[in-house]
Amino acid sequence: MSEIKEPRLKRPKMSETVDNFIDNIINMKKNLHAVLGDEFHSSIPLLQVYTGHVRDLKQLSKIIVILNEKIQLKEMQHLKRARKKDVLLCPTDYVSHDVKSEDSVQKYLEEHIPELKDAFEFFKITEVPLLAPKLKRQHEEFSKIWSCNFHPNKYLEKLCGNEFFAEDELTSHRLYMGMTFEIARFYLSQMNSSLEMTDIILRDTNATVIVDPSTKSVVAVAFDNRQYHPVQHSAMLAIDNVAKTQNGGAWDTATDVKDVSLRGIEIELLVHLKEKFPNVKFGARTYLTKNALNESKMSVSGSPYLCTGYYVYLMREPCVMCSMGLVHARANRVFYCLKNNRKGALGSKTKLQCVSSLNHHFEVFTDFL
């Protein structure tokens, strides 16, 4: 089982009661962390280049002007052209000789930039960072190797730090995550009256809570039905439940609830959650059709559209299907508690949120435990 590979610290104690576990999720003060692309942490990929040591430092700026014109380094705009007396000439693979050596780069200069043939005392093969630094920390690290241009980004620095969410935000994220486990408990305890934490954690199952942060209200919730229907993972069900709050929906899992805004939550569960979470609001903003929007001269943002702007809380990291479903639904942020080493698509097997060619990207947060 995948759970066994989990690092010890992050594994919930199996002996814990369900109550304790949910209380901990909700009350812990530990901040969450974003699940970011590899470019933020993995070791720096390097590129092999030729550098030349200039004979006369007074000529340096002139040499750089000539080089910038004759050998443009388009994909390497983040690299400064010079570092003290060393000048970045070109990647070694620009020089098409069998043997990479000082002689071949001298010949290359004589052929292509004869005016610089005597400018350098000697040449070196050096490795420089292939990518631009995104964080201060990376900039410092990269600078040990070669001088880089760097534009600090406050948001990214914060996102990578340990204090991203303010206290009140953290409290609400933890509360909604606690709710996903409460939903699992609600359904699983109907089958098993002495439910333990292991029964929830080791089971291939999931629960989802979708929240509209603009109204601080729970729009839709869902518990897995994958045992009976292979597509009805909780995220897919929750997306359909959101559709039901917008006069849509495809699966007749719910409900003839008259209030459209509450069609995202099964009625018995709603009663239970209201009792357990007396301070939480439930229900979607009023859905308006295109015509209604036009008539009242409201902009498109006057009505909810799919999961635009919504936060999605999942007990477990979602699989590829569910993660892509959430991309299609245009969710704004996705939070998960337990890792899914075997199937997870937001950190474990892949990071769908980092596939740059997709048309929508959400932020992903975890580290509730």
């Binding site: 292979p230 597509v231 559709a243 929906g249 495809a250 299907m321 299609h328 698509a345």
Partner: protein, 162 residues
């Protein structure tokens, strides 16, 4: 083969008439159609209601009603779909261990092979073949994107976007 794709293309045109992204799909077992559908995203307000997911629903319901084990049933299914399945649908079809998927044109925006090759994450991989009546499938998509959004800027690349 061509006949099944022709049927999928008919379903895609039907989607176009209903102002949905024109993608159509048929599921077959032993050269017989067991499910057919098209996109119904706009009608359901559910962005996951792709043709393939609709067909899966039909098969699951059929299996339930006839007390068939769907896990065994899907192993014999060949999928004909006018556009390469997106990452979500490709994952769903992998989970179900369908035998084969044959598509029309590639899906440059969401493709489960073209954009992100999901076969790397699954132990089971179905046979995947593309380019069956791709021009017809692409023509429908072009018509849709021309029709719904006359003010949209021309795509930057020459590659057609799905």
């Amino acid at each position: 083969m061509v006949d099944f794709m022709k049927r999928a293309l008919e379903l895609a045109s039907e989607a176009l008439s209903a102002q949905e992204v024109p993608v159509g799909c048929v599921f077959t077992i032993n050269s017989e159609i067991i499910a057919e559908s098209r996109n119904s995203v706009n009608a359901t307000h559910n962005p996951t209601r792709h043709a393939e997911i609709n067909c899966i629903d039909t098969v699951i319901a059929h299996c339930k009603n006839n007390h068939i084990d769907y896990k065994m049933y899907f192993k014999n299914v060949t999928v004909y779909v006018t556009v390469e399945p997106c990452i979500m649908c490709a994952a769903a079809l992998s989970n179900l261990c369908v035998k084969e998927v044959i598509y029309g044109c590639a899906n440059d925006r969401f493709g489960g092979k073209t954009v992100l090759d999901i076969s790397k994450f699954y132990e089971y991989n179905y046979n995947l073949t593309g380019n069956l009546m791709a021009n017809e499938a692409m023509a429908l998509l072009k018509q849709f994107y021309k029709g719904t959004n006359p003010n949209a800027p021309e795509p930057k690349t020459k590659k057609e976007k799905v």
